[in-house]
Symmetry: C5
Subunit: 93 residues, 5 copies
Amino acid sequence: MILGRVVGECVASQKDPSHEGRKLLMVQPLTLDGGDQPGPPVLALDAVDAGIGDRVLLALEGFSAMTAVGRPNSPIDAAAIGVIDTVDITDPA
Amino acid sequence: MILGRVVGECVASQKDPSHEGRKLLMVQPLTLDGGDQPGPPVLALDAVDAGIGDRVLLALEGFSAMTAVGRPNSPIDAAAIGVIDTVDITDPA
Amino acid sequence: MILGRVVGECVASQKDPSHEGRKLLMVQPLTLDGGDQPGPPVLALDAVDAGIGDRVLLALEGFSAMTAVGRPNSPIDAAAIGVIDTVDITDPA
Amino acid sequence: MILGRVVGECVASQKDPSHEGRKLLMVQPLTLDGGDQPGPPVLALDAVDAGIGDRVLLALEGFSAMTAVGRPNSPIDAAAIGVIDTVDITDPA
Amino acid sequence: MILGRVVGECVASQKDPSHEGRKLLMVQPLTLDGGDQPGPPVLALDAVDAGIGDRVLLALEGFSAMTAVGRPNSPIDAAAIGVIDTVDITDPA
């Protein structure tokens, strides 16, 4: 799982029925100090009613993601499964 | 899942029967601001009748992809499962 | 599996019930010589009572991670499954 | 799935019985314009009788790869499942 | 699967019982010309009695790795499943 920040939402008209009724979040992976990772955002279905700006815990595996949103046997490979309240980091050096 | 742009199609003569009748899309992953990611394109079976230039939602996991194209137990690990209409992005800074 | 160092813990209020009662470790992947990898930390459930500063063995696959923490059919895709005592490395050149 | 070019073959004496009788191809991932990706080659079992120099479609997931070579329940996580004849690419800019 | 070179071994006291009696190899992924990849080593259970310095074939998927070491339903996501004898590479240019 990784930590990310919700930076947007996507709207798709042609899509799999299993995605109906769930927000499709655009999530930017974060670095250890909370900055944005270089690289692409991840698109994840929302299982915890996360909103833009929230730091979220992302599951990045099919079965895990399907389980999180309660839709097994669906084409879902990533889901936001937690909203992070606090992160305690020790000196990484 | 990731966001990509359909940039081409591949034609293969020697291939698995499960791939018959489906387009094999060449999809370039996109960055947060809609530009092309550096790195290689992904080849994905088409589950939503996407065309060149479309922005698509890609499932990048075997079971998800097989489910999306309705061909379980097949060698398919990526599929285009949605056509993205709009992306709302907040200030990522 | 990869080698990482526990650098922090995350607290999430909105989360999947399968995560209750397990620490959510923030783990930085390590290089061959024991330094921090560039790139993002991984979030992993704790199966071995690891603490901050410990070097841990991370399983990075859903089924493996769920098995390690004894919670099958849960949205868990990474777990700390060992605490590393010693690493013997030969000259990598 | 990704596109790659067969650049070599590996011979292994100590190996899993499921790999007997199949070529172990060394495949370099390709960029959008057909050049070699930086980064390591992938080792894949051959399901389509590909030869050195061929452009191939690679499945990079265990179940997909095992299915492609007809050997379920085997330690196989990548397979060459198609030989690419033509690639039509639109202007990526 | 990828090609790697065994560069060390790890010893873990707190670990999953499924890892008992198997060496935990530290394996550095290799480039096409046999040099070390930049990036972190992979930790893999040994299924072929590989030793330090050996070039090995790594399975990097849970089911494949568990099958290779004969321990299904275990938290194992990588295994050394072959010892490479020879690699024949054509001119990659």
